[in-house]
């Protein structure tokens, strides 16, 4: 995708956020339709509890409505930002690091080279990411999934799988190199 098209997609999300700032509920409903499926999928995968996943999703969109100014469209992608917030909250709650984690929206913006505004573009990205992960050897894929969906560090993955710490580090590093190469291609 060209930088120009990506910028147009961001502007469209930005336009919805602008309408949300003006208290336009239909803009929030449109953003919900656009990204709730993607976010529900990742929340369910992490929490393995549909009720808890919905609770987090509701809170995130509610806070987006309450404080739309926290998102800066000039510095980042809305879906990527929402994914980071949802994942952080889910993992914090899952691991009971902080049951009330994420009561505020984070300020860190997350740029994305890709456009995810439409269902088609999300499906394309889904195929691309899953293809990239499936190209990894099973141990590498498992390590990435434990880190991403369960929030595990190298040591925790080693303890879970029974593999030596050095092996786990090598697996994750190699997996990241491959994913980076594939997703940036």
């Amino acid at each position: 995708m060209s930088e120009e098209t990506a910028a147009q997609a961001r502007a469209s999300d930005a336009a919805l956020m602008e309408r949300i700032s003006q208290r336009d509920e239909s803009a929030l409903a449109e953003l919900y339709d656009r990204y709730a499926g993607m976010l529900t999928s990742v929340l369910n995968r992490i929490m393995r509890d549909a009720q808890a996943a919905e609770e987090i999703l509701q809170d995130v969109f509610y806070q987006l409505w309450r404080a739309p100014e926290r998102f800066d469209a000039s510095r980042g992608s809305l879906p990527a930002w929402l994914v980071v917030i949802c994942r952080n909250r889910a993992i914090s709650r899952l691991r009971k690091k902080n049951p009330a984690a994420g009561d505020e929206l984070v300020d860190d913006m997350v740029p994305l080279r890709f456009h995810l505004e439409t269902e088609v573009s999300q499906q394309q990205m889904l195929g691309r990411v899953r293809g990239a992960l499936e190209s990894l050897p099973g141990e590498q894929r498992a390590a990435v999934e434990l880190a991403y969906f369960e929030g595990m560090t190298h040591s925790e993955i080693a303890a879970r799988t029974g593999d030596p710490l050095g092996t786990v580090k090598t697996r994750l590093r190699t997996a990241i190199q491959t994913l980076k190469r594939t997703l940036n291609a």
């Binding site: 208290r23 509920e25 929030l28 409903a29 919900y32 709730a36 499926g37 993607m38 976010l39 529900t40 999928s41 369910n44 995968r45 992490i46 549909a50 009720q51 996943a53 919905e54 609770e55 999703l57 509701q58 969109f61 509610y62 980042g76 992608s77 990527a80 994914v83 994942r87 860190d108 913006m109 997350v110 740029p111 994305l112 080279r113 999300q122 990205m125 889904l126 691309r128 990411v129 899953r130 992960l133 099973g138 141990e139 990435v144 880190a147 991403y148 969906f149 929030g151 595990m152 560090t153 190298h154 993955i157 029974g162 994750l172 590093r173 990241i176 190199q177 994913l179 980076k180 940036n184």
Partner: protein, 264 residues
């Protein structure tokens, strides 16, 4: 300022949260002082966010959007009522600015707030009821399974088949118990983790015909795999076997036998 990270993928590992505390600390300190590395980390966060697409697609719960919009409506109503009441009082003139306004505005605001609170309480109660239902269902299933297992083990018609490890295959022990009258089969065993990209698959090898799958599994080291299932209709087992198959299992065995036991 400490040195830049030696490898580019460190940014992605940091964004992923995979670095342990002893690695994170120095990295975090460096990031705070190095705009160049902070920018690389921001890019890495975008890449890592895409891993969300690895999750199996799940649609939002039915009614979730309506619940969100209702919450926002209730919130908005609570926030706007005093202002609206104030506008109305101006429209109606001085007479309305008396005790009516003084009583109505706070009363309506209280009502709106109470609506939000009640909605929240209803939500909490719904969640508790759903959790209790799940808990009861799980306990009923556990009780039912325990009863079936006790009946299977206690029946004189039950046959136990020990599955022996095949030479050169992953280590493991397992046995199958089956009962033709009860039409039940139970597998219980412990095997090494399956090779990468593979699963184990249990087969009922019948006296006549092709093997029939009786379960695909991915053992967790140190944990026992155990399940019960109905014996396939009309099947008289000659043997039971566990093979290595592509992840997710196959319609017919294609991989090497890991465990094998004769039924008679």
């Amino acid at each position: 300022m400490s040195a830049h990270p030696s490898r580019e993928e460190d940014f992605d590992l940091y964004a992923l949260g995979a670095l342990d505390a002893d690695e994170c600390g120095p990295f975090g300190e460096h990031l705070a002082a190095c705009p160049e590395c902070a920018a690389k980390l921001t890019e890495a966060k975008g890449r890592i966010a895409l891993l969300a697409f690895a999750a199996a697609s799940v649609a939002p719960a039915s009614g979730a959007k309506q619940r969100l919009m209702a919450r926002i409506d209730a919130d908005a109503a609570a926030a706007q009522l005093p202002a609206k009441a104030s506008v109305r009082s101006e429209e109606r003139g001085v007479g309305f600015s008396g005790w009516w306004a003084a009583a109505l505005v706070p009363a309506t605001a209280v009502l709106a707030i109470a609506t939000v609170v009640l909605w929240q309480e209803k939500n909490d109660l719904d969640k508790q009821i759903a959790a209790l239902r799940n808990s009861v269902t799980t306990e009923q299933e556990q009780l039912s399974n325990s009863t079936k297992l006790a009946n299977l083990i206690g029946s004189s018609d039950t046959v136990t088949v020990n599955l022996a490890q095949r030479p050169g295959m992953p280590k493991g022990v397992a046995h199958v118990m089956y009962n033709m009258k009860m039409k039940m089969l139970m597998y219980d065993g412990e095997l090494e983790a399956a090779p990468a990209g593979k699963s184990y698959q249990l087969w009922v090898v019948p006296m006549n015909g092709n093997p029939v799958s009786a379960g695909v599994f991915q053992p967790v080291p140190g944990q026992t795999d155990h399940w019960m299932m109905a014996m396939p209709e009309g099947l008289v087992p000659k043997a039971f076997a566990v093979t290595i198959e592509p992840a997710g299992g196959m319609a017919q065995p294609t991989g090497p036998e890991v465990l094998l036991g004769a039924a008679s």
